[in-house]
């Protein structure tokens, strides 16, 4: 079993499940969004730790920087993209939440569904 060597990956997976639990089980929408962010962060952690190498140095060329010892720059570049997309999604979700709260005065999902049924019926 490599679980001990890969405990960064394992932590990322546990974080992912915590985030998924929050998204499914919590009834407050803001907490659901926080759960979504935790899931995103766990994926970032997973990818960045894939790029790690033992005794590695930052992937910046310069005096004394040996390219064969640098960590993997590709996941870092990908994750920069991912973070920006995550921020965009969060901003849009939060603005929709603000609108929902102004309309219904509650952030509880089950109460929101009830309000919606009352309005329809």
């Amino acid at each position: 079993m490599n679980l001990w060597h890969n405990f960064h990956y394992a932590v990322a997976m546990v974080l992912f499940c915590i985030g998924l639990y929050t998204v499914i089980m919590r009834r407050n929408i803001i907490k659901k969004i926080i759960g979504l962010n935790v899931m995103e962060t766990s994926v970032f952690l997973f990818l960045v730790s894939i790029g790690y190498r033992k005794g590695g140095i930052a992937p910046i060329h310069g005096p004394g920087a040996d390219p064969s010892r640098m960590v993997n720059p590709l996941p870092q570049a990908l994750i920069l993209t991912g973070i920006v997309v995550a921020v965009s999604v969060t901003a849009l979700a939060l603005s929709l939440v603000i609108l929902l709260y102004r309309q219904f005065g509650t952030l509880d999902v089950s109460r929101l569904f009830r309000e919606e049924e009352e309005e329809a019926g």
Binding site: V14, P67, P73, S88, A91
Partner: protein, 249 residues
């Protein structure tokens, strides 16, 4: 019942994920497939091909430039969607956080924020301009500028911060990331290459390579400014409160 099913599902997923992870190659070994396939090519050639010592910046802005341009468009679209949902802020129609919290606005907090914000802005400029030689870049610097405005707005209120960063200054700059990226990409044609090639073919024929570095810095500055303005506009649109719409007495 629903709770039980969800817990079972998440537990099964966790076990599956942990099993997969435990069968992956040990983290950080130099002979992992992640470290031996594509990456040595990037690490060895990036400095000659992109003229940026920081390989991450080289990958983001040069090798995967098209991808990053799409990403810049994504934050611009996010801003457009937020503004479509919430509307732009109107000046002078909100009380600040310190007033809303019920505590008297503390002199210590105000003084500290006023002292710290210029240094945060200086740091963000450093992050943007040194993105090609050290960790950092346009997105990071823009996020730092946005964070400094978040501090300022929570303490001093929307009115003062929208005087500092007025809307007529922000709204043209919000698209600057997309526009700079596109213009620099089009310059690739004049360099004799394709879109977003940073005049590379001409450089290999003897054009001064510093041009590529300067174009990279230009894109970084555009992304930094654009990202910062997008973040500030999203913040202002969210901070504006419907209930506080009456002008302050």
């Amino acid at each position: 019942m629903k709770r039980l099913v969800s817990l079972l599902f998440i537990g099964a997923l966790a076990l599956l994920l942990l099993y997969v992870v435990s069968r992956m190659p040990p983290m950080g070994e130099p002979d992992n497939p992640t470290a031996t396939r594509v990456v040595p090519r990037y690490l060895e050639k990036a400095e000659d091909e992109t003229h940026t010592p920081n390989v991450v910046t080289g990958i983001i802005l040069n090798y995967r430039g098209f991808d990053t341009m799409g990403e810049v468009t994504v934050i611009y679209c996010a801003l457009a969607a937020v503004l479509a949902v919430l509307g732009r802020e109107r000046r002078g129609r909100i009380r600040d956080y310190v007033e809303l919290s019920g505590l008297p606005s503390s002199v210590i907090v105000r003084t500290m924020v006023a002292l710290v914000v210029p240094f945060i802005l200086l740091f963000s400029l450093y992050t943007i301009f040194h993105g090609e030689t050290s960790p950092g870049g346009g997105f990071q610097g823009g996020a730092v500028i946005g964070a400094s405005m978040i501090i300022f707005t929570t303490i001093y209120g929307l009115h003062l911060s929208s005087v500092k960063v007025p809307q007529r200054f922000r709204s043209p700059l919000e698209g600057s990331a997309v526009i700079t990226f596109f213009l620099v990409g089009v310059l690739g044609f004049f360099g004799g290459g394709n879109f977003l090639t940073y005049a590379w073919p001409r450089v290999s024929e003897g054009l001064h390579p510093a041009l590529v570095t300067w174009l990279t810095v230009l894109v970084e500055v555009g992304i930094g400014l654009g990202g910062a303005m997008v973040l500030i506009s999203i913040l202002f649109a969210m901070v504006r409160e419907e209930g506080a719409d009456e002008p302050l007495a």
